[in-house]
């Protein structure tokens, strides 16, 4: 069907907290340069799915594959063995966990539902922090300003400035991150994620709290960075206008379970989705 390279593949991801199954057997594929939407009513488990991908949570069952390599895999263990309510219990045998910083190093960058910028730092510093993981100088070299540290620092600064120019925040580079208007803070958060050189970008409600004009700009912005940085994008969003306008493929969650997936047109016509959003006939 789609013969593009697979960047991210979730197989049977299930996340159970105590007796609550927050994400139930989610199967999701993001291809290279694709923009994929993840939608669903409040509490459907969208952000939990993000947290499973980025290593914040260990999924109870299932595996996450990034660029063709399984990086996270788990199966119900210990007490969870009996309490497990999901499916495919015997399918996975390995337990591979990964901390969020390692996942980021593998090329998965994310933004947050409620903006999480570094408040005490300037716009430029916010972006430069994200490049810290790629520098190789030791703490001694960096402290005593070795030649390598100086070249790396200069390269970092140049790259950060270049990135800020691309996202139109260059004029604000010396302002405190929190002094930016809301829309620009969102842009900065995306720029900061881009600074980690991701192959896939996870956006958690980037248009939250934006007016139609701002979300329209954001939509264009997301499309533009996808082309410019050669990215794949997986986004959670509530603004249907944004999701339907920009995504090539949409997955719909409800009560943790996956109820539909397809192109925007297919999703709009899907009775299960309409029922989840608007309620069925009583």
């Amino acid at each position: 069907m789609d013969n593009r390279e697979v960047v991210l593949r979730l197989s049977d991801i299930t996340m159970q907290f105590g007796g609550v199954v927050a994400v139930d057997n989610l199967n999701l594929v993001v291809h290279k340069n694709e923009i994929v939407g993840l939608i669903g009513p409040n509490g459907a488990g969208k952000t939990t799915a993000f947290n499973c991908i980025t290593g914040v949570y260990e999924p109870t069952n299932g595996s996450v594959e990034i660029n063709g390599k399984v990086v996270i895999e788990n199966h119900p263990q210990g007490k969870m063995k009996e309490a497990y309510k999901g499916r495919n219990a015997g399918k996975y045998t390995k337990a591979i966990t990964m901390l969020p910083d390692k996942v980021t190093k593998l090329g998965v960058a994310r933004t947050f539902q409620n903006i999480r910028l570094f408040k005490g730092m300037t716009v430029l510093e916010n972006v430069m922090v994200a490049m810290h993981m790629n520098q190789t100088e030791s703490v001694f070299g960096a402290t005593f300003r070795s030649k390598k540290a100086r070249t790396e620092e200069a390269a970092m600064r140049a790259e950060a400035e270049e990135l800020l120019r691309k996202v139109e925040l260059f004029e604000n580079r010396n302002d405190l991150a929190t002094s930016l208007p809301y829309g620009k803070q969102r842009h900065l958060e995306i720029a900061r994620a881009l600074a980690t050189h991701p192959s896939i970008l996870l956006l958690d409600e980037p248009a939250a709290g934006m007016n139609p004009q701002e979300s329209d700009d954001l939509m264009k912005f997301i499309g533009r960075i996808r082309d410019e940085f050669d990215l794949s994008i997986l986004m959670i969003e509530h603004h249907m206008q944004v999701i339907m306008g920009i995504c090539e493929h949409i997955y719909v969650l409800n009560y943790g379970g996956q109820i539909a997936d397809g192109t925007p047109a297919e999703i709009q016509a899907n009775p299960a989705v309409i029922e989840a959003y608007l309620g069925g006939d009583e």
Partner: protein
């Protein structure tokens, strides 16, 4: 008024200021006779610089990495003991370790190097155990950090405080007596001759801390302080960076412990307790969490106040006032009140999270005469505004009184106070849009 100096002028100014200060300290220590009350100034500079170093090291943890750690006194203790143990002259061992048959270590690094290298060896012999003290503390901090740094906020504070107390008890343990002299005092070890020594060492160490903070690692530390979750999502290994910050901070705490041992000339584990940690924390808070300049200023103010300016309160006579309640201990009462006032009115500390800059300093100086000149008129304006507000208030009160009186009169005459609104019985329903 904006003033910007070029980089070169600034560095020249900084070097000149530091050199001037060092010359002042060096000559001051030589020229001021021990009996003079100005000798206290030199003592304050010595102790202040040592406290400035430990406060800066604590600020690196609390203010820049967001780790609320309270282990500083414990780490200073190890530093102080390590330095003292290896520099007690061989001849003095029997006197110092009188309860432990002259102790286990019967030589001194200072003497060993002095014998072969002369004066240079003497100072090298002081620097090596000092550096060793820092390194030992760093190793211990590394080990303590492995379990402790997985904890967050208050839990980390409690755990580090606990470790510091354990260390204190450990050093007083009788079985270790041949090395640590048990609960007895360590003395007669080599100390510095001139106040410039601790000042110079502290300055060097604080400069290194500043360089670290302004490096890419310092940026990562501040990112962890601002938002751990976001920092981790940006590829920063939380544990590794917290450990780096903890170890480096502890290294400098160890160095300052060694300096404190030299300053005091005798040491004992007892004073390195939680009270000492709180003193350091106080300096950090007063100076401003997240400002090294603040920590330095705070350290000097704190030492000057507790050792010098408020001494008279204990002795019964202060600024020409003498009263019967001014007896030993009263200084601490006044000190506590002062601190409360500072925390109330300067809740972010003296410097907030800003550092010293020549630009701000000079523009402040330039604006000072104007500000001073404007001060009386500003005061006058403030007083006038207050008077006006008071007058307006009084007028409003009298109006209200009048209205009340007239209302009373109308009520008494049977008139209705309010005219009721007309009530209509039609209800309008708005159609939902687009239905």
């Amino acid at each position: 008024m904006e003033t910007t100096l070029n980089k070169k002028t600034k560095s020249v100014l900084s070097v000149a200021a530091i050199a001037l200060f060092l010359v002042f300290v060096y000559l001051g220590d030589i020229m001021i006779s021990p009996g003079s009350s100005w000798k206290m100034l030199i003592t304050v500079i010595e102790k202040g610089s040592i406290y400035a170093l430990v406060a800066a090291s604590m600020n690196l943890l609390n203010g820049f990495t967001g780790l609320f750690s309270l282990g500083q006194a414990g780490f200073m203790l190890i530093g102080a003991y390590t330095y003292a143990i290896f520099t007690i002259p061989a001849a003095s061992h029997d006197a110092v370790y009188q309860y432990f048959e002259g102790g286990a270590i019967k030589w001194s690094i200072v003497e060993a190097l002095e014998g072969s290298l002369g004066v240079f060896g003497h100072y090298l012999g002081m620097l090596i155990p000092m550096l060793g003290a820092g390194l030992l503390v760093a190793v211990i901090a590394f080990l303590i950090g492995i379990p402790v740094l997985r904890l967050k906020s208050d839990y980390l504070a409690i755990a580090t405080l606990g470790f510091a107390e354990i260390l204190r008890a450990f050093f007083q343990w009788n079985t270790l007596g041949p090395v640590t002299n048990g609960s007895n005092v360590l003395r007669k070890y080599t100390t510095y001759g001139n106040a410039i020594f601790p000042v110079l060492i502290s300055m060097l160490c604080i400069a290194i801390i500043l360089l670290l903070i302004n490096s890419t690692y310092g940026r990562a530390f501040r990112a962890i302080r601002d938002d751990e979750i976001a920092a981790e999502a940006m590829g920063i290994n939380l544990f590794k960076h917290k450990e780096i910050s903890f170890v480096i901070s502890s290294f400098f705490a160890g160095i300052s412990g060694a300096l404190l041992a030299m300053f005091q000339t005798t040491i004992n584990a007892t004073p390195f307790n939680t009270v000492m940690t709180y003193e350091i924390l106080l300096i950090v808070v007063i100076g401003g969490i997240g400002s090294i300049t603040g920590s330095v200023i705070g350290a000097f103010l704190f030492t000057a106040a507790s050792e010098w300016w408020l001494r008279g309160l204990d002795a019964g006579r202060w600024l020409g006032i003498s009263a019967s309640f001014m007896r030993p201990g009263f200084r601490k009462v006044v000190f506590a009140v002062l601190i409360m006032l500072i925390v109330l009115f300067y809740s972010r500390g003296i410097m907030g999270d800003k550092e010293f800059s020549w630009d701000r300093f000079i523009s402040g100086l330039k604006n000072l005469p104007a500000n001073l000149k404007a001060w009386p008129s500003r005061r006058k304006a403030k007083a006038a505004a207050k008077r006006e507000a008071r007058a307006a208030n009084a007028a409003a009160r009298s109006r209200a009184k009048e209205a009340k009186a007239s209302n009373e009169a109308r009520k008494a005459s049977g008139e209705a106070l309010f005219t009721p609104l007309e009530v209509s019985d039609t209800v309008i329903v708005f159609d939902k849009e687009g239905k």
